[in-house]
């Protein structure tokens, strides 16, 4: 017998008040694995520069997020590119590597941001072009992307929070991918 539905019992209150949710997403706490990698990588402290939407992209991509069955997930500080910046700052700060006066400046352009809470399989993608400038000279310039796929329920009360969480986790995953990039590490080396 398939008993996976029993796991939904803790969500019963949510099932009874199903409606259109409007949730704001902001940067959360630091990530253990990312902080450990940052600390062990012998990087120089850096600051976060300008994070914005990449040129040529639809402006709505930076402020809205379709694909949640009519529900709304919006960036707490007005733009997804700002959330990416905040996520990076949280990780750098927790690793003791954030210095707003540093001559190393990390900047970013949001290239892709989407989620699909479809019945069956959910999907999400986040991509950005990162640059690192050292005393004004660009020493790193690369586009990075992360994707996620997950089992997505028929019931919105289950599928929507899951999709929102999966999308939010992409920000941590993208920053982790940046931290793991050997070229980024070389550019940020002490």
């Amino acid at each position: 017998m398939n008993t996976s539905w029993i796991r939904l019992l803790p969500l019963l209150p949510a099932l009874l008040i199903v409606g259109c949710a409007n949730v704001q997403l902001g940067a959360t706490g630091a990530t253990p694995a990312t902080v450990e990698r940052l600390r062990s990588a012998q990087l120089a402290p850096a600051q976060a520069g300008e994070f914005r939407l990449a040129p040529g992209k639809d402006a709505a991509m930076d402020t809205t997020l379709p694909g949640l069955r009519g529900n709304t997930l919006s960036p707490a500080k007005g733009s997804w590119s700002q959330l990416l910046k905040d996520t990076l700052v949280v990780e750098l700060t927790a690793a003791g590597l954030y210095d707003p006066a540093s001559s190393l400046v990390i900047a970013g352009q949001l290239v892709d941001s989407r989620v699909d809470a479809a019945i069956g399989t959910g999907a999400g993608r986040l991509a950005a072009r990162f640059t690192v400038a050292k005393q004004g000279r660009v020493v790193y310039d690369k586009e990075l992307a992360v994707d996620a796929r997950w089992e997505s329920s028929f019931m919105g009360a289950v599928a929507i929070p899951e999709a929102m969480n999966q999308y939010g986790a992409l920000y941590k995953a993208l920053v982790a991918k940046l931290v793991d990039d050997p070229d980024f590490r070389r550019a940020m080396a002490r």
């Binding site: 008993t3 029993i6 796991r7 253990p32 902080v35 450990e36 600390r39 003791g96 997950w150 028929f154």
Partner: protein, 201 residues
């Protein structure tokens, strides 16, 4: 056609959940009781540490659960007697403690067997198990010192109707008590392992 059948099945289950939810019962596995902080091996000079904590669901960061449990986790580490101070921010000397708990559904006997030592997984058809894997990594202040890594596991059961939990499982008043009890027991056992390591702190 398959999608339609699946959709109908979920609809039926949703109705069943709505009408049967009051019959749900939550249990914490009985094979991993809490280790009281008094039993930890206390260091002569407890270190000051930075704590970075995360709850995951199937390996994916779960921001809401992380935030919901954060205060309890910090309090348990702070009151353990193993550390002089537990902070969110980097600390002088740079000692770092990371704690991760990952929730893994135990969907079948194969996945459940051996998850917790002594666990005899023989669940009735209307009971499911959720596994929780804890990893604590302590990186001491000394530059270049290897981190100490300790792992622990625990299981929560949810049953409905006549479904029964495994022998020895402790019945909880509700889901919140079940989760917080499981977390406290799991962290206490992993912290105890850390305290007993001769290399700590």
């Amino acid at each position: 056609m398959v999608r339609v059948v699946r959709a109908l099945r979920w609809l039926v289950l949703a109705v069943a959940l709505t009408s049967l939810g009051g019959c749900a019962a939550f249990y914490v596995d009985g094979h991993a009781p809490e280790v009281p902080a008094a039993q930890y091996k206390k260091p002569a000079s407890p270190p000051e540490v930075q704590l970075v904590w995360e709850f995951q669901t199937k390996g994916v960061s779960n921001a809401r659960a992380t935030e919901w449990l954060k205060t309890r986790v910090q309090e348990q580490f702070s009151s353990s007697g193993l550390f002089s101070k537990v902070s969110d921010a980097p600390v002088p000397g740079g000692a770092l403690l990371t704690a991760t708990v990952n929730n893994i559904p135990l969907d079948n006997d194969a996945a459940a067997k051996g998850f917790v030592a002594g666990l005899t997984f023989g669940l009735a058809g209307t009971t499911v198990g959720d596994g929780y894997e804890c990893t604590i990594r302590y990186s001491p202040a000394q530059t270049g010192a290897s981190p100490l890594v300790k792992n622990g596991k625990h299981v929560l059961y949810t049953s409905i109707g006549t479904g029964g939990p495994p022998a020895g499982a402790q019945k909880m008043a509700g889901i919140e008590e079940a989760v917080t009890t499981m977390m406290r027991q799991l962290l206490s056992r992993t912290l105890n392992d850390l305290s007993q390591d001769p290399a700590f702190p």
